[in-house]
Symmetry: C2
Subunit: 277 residues, 2 copies
């Protein structure tokens, strides 16, 4: 048992998805595709007599993180640090849940496997209604395709072999919980169609194209997002909307070329990992 | 279509395994566990009228690499560079096959998914008799547990959540093809037992302990390897034998502490990836 341990979990932007709820949280999840980012969340766990969760230096209420600690039957101080925007579709709560699982396992010698820890974090996210597919994508890295929903024992993953530079602009947040608890019929039909197309042609270009189409078909585009995507297209680039946030992301220099002042990062080559011992 | 592309594939040391041959190369494979290494193979693919494979500046015959190019229906010059010892249990042929698949897909716009490319490389290794489990482990990174054998559509992976420093000393090679084509009954029984134990307790300590036990039970220890493992234990460390090579690896500073002059690297956090665009 060490005093503390830190895990890094990449951010994750979903381009398109379909929702697959289930009473069993390990079976629930989403199909879809997204990009993991070199920007992410560093999560440090330290043993404490009472659990406490801090994000960028402030106390926060984060039910899925508390759920993960409960599942491992430990109490700890969890400190998360991130440069990612909050509530804007970057998977910060998934990253905090997964990072907590990995770091707490190391601190408390819980002897769980990576799949077990991913499962705990995935189930916690599903139960809290904060996400359906971020955790399994963040555990994998790269540009993950969620072929079948659910935790590792049930879900199936594939990936698009590419490592482009990614730019993004975050205008603001959208409530994941609100959208996922509403009528998701149109969204799921659009997501299923996009997934079929990306499996036929698992390329970066096609991923961006299907993501744009999805946002349109699912009725999730806001005015600011639609306008930025159009600006990038006018400048010869390719952009789409992050699910679920009022965020536009582009490959290469798409947003810069269109005159925006984006955050620049890369596709992250690895899934969530403990920091080097 | 680009002129050339480069992929990096981590080295892979298997600690224990059981062999699971099958006439269908995508079903064939091995169960077991190992560590992927920050040392690996950089594979560059460039379009050419006739295929040619070079390793560290010399022409080599590498049937699984040629098989991968044939499967993608392309001809290319493949240039591999590595600091890993050859034929000593580091998965260099698996790395070359997988790196070729990833880089060739990028150069020739083959539009295959990551699972498709891993499958091509895995099948090529199985057909050539050069490996059964390296490719799927190298595609994953970390400390992979091969729970079920085979390519991604059939196999199941898990992992041990740890990122220690790794040291190794390579005394020489053992023939993978020779051992895998002989009687593997004792080896497979020992490998299955080790896998059951590591699944009960997926920790680094247990992995090293099971790997040592496996080498002994499978009758693969050579005198030099047995003596080095003993020296590390006497110095308070934990070492095991790489399958299949006359190579000893240790966690942390195990070999240094025992007076050896090992190569030092780390567990690689990522699976095989294209270089950044």
């Amino acid at each position: 048992m060490s005093d503390d341990a830190t895990a890094f979990v990449p951010g994750h932007i979903t381009g398109f998805f379909s929702a697959h709820p289930d009473d069993d949280a390990s079976l629930a999840g989403s199909r879809g595709a997204g990009v993991t980012l070199s920007q992410g969340v560093a999560v440090t766990v330290e043993s404490a007599s009472e659990s406490r969760v801090r994000l960028d230096g402030e106390d926060v209420s984060m039910p899925p993180v508390e759920d993960v600690l409960d599942s491992l039957d430990v109490t700890a101080t969890v400190r998360a640090e991130t440069d990612l925007p909050l509530g804007a579709g970057f998977g910060v709560s998934g990253a905090m849940s997964l990072g907590t699982a990995l770091a707490a396992n190391a601190v408390f010698s819980c002897k769980r496997s990576e799949n077990d820890l991913i499962t705990l974090a995935h189930e916690a996210e599903v139960r809290a209604g904060t996400g359906l597919g971020d955790v399994v994508a963040q555990a994998r890295g790269g540009i993950p395709i969620r072929v079948e929903p659910g935790a590792p024992a049930h879900g199936t993953m594939d990936g698009i072999p590419a490592r482009p530079r990614i730019e993004y602009v975050a205008f603001g947040g959208l409530s994941t919980a609100e959208i996922l608890s509403g009528d998701t019929t149109a969204l799921t039909a659009a997501g299923e169609a996009a997934l079929e197309h990306i499996r036929d042609e698992p390329t970066l270009d096609r991923f961006m194209q299907e993501s744009r189409q999805f946002a349109r078909d699912a009725g999730l585009l806001t005015e600011r997002v639609e306008s930025a995507i159009g600006d990038v297209a006018d400048a010869g680039g390719s952009a789409a909307m992050a699910m679920l946030g009022e965020t536009v992301f582009a490959v290469g220099t798409g947003l810069s070329d269109a005159g925006y002042d984006p955050v620049v990062c890369d596709v992250h080559p690895a899934g969530a990992t403990l920091n080097h011992e």
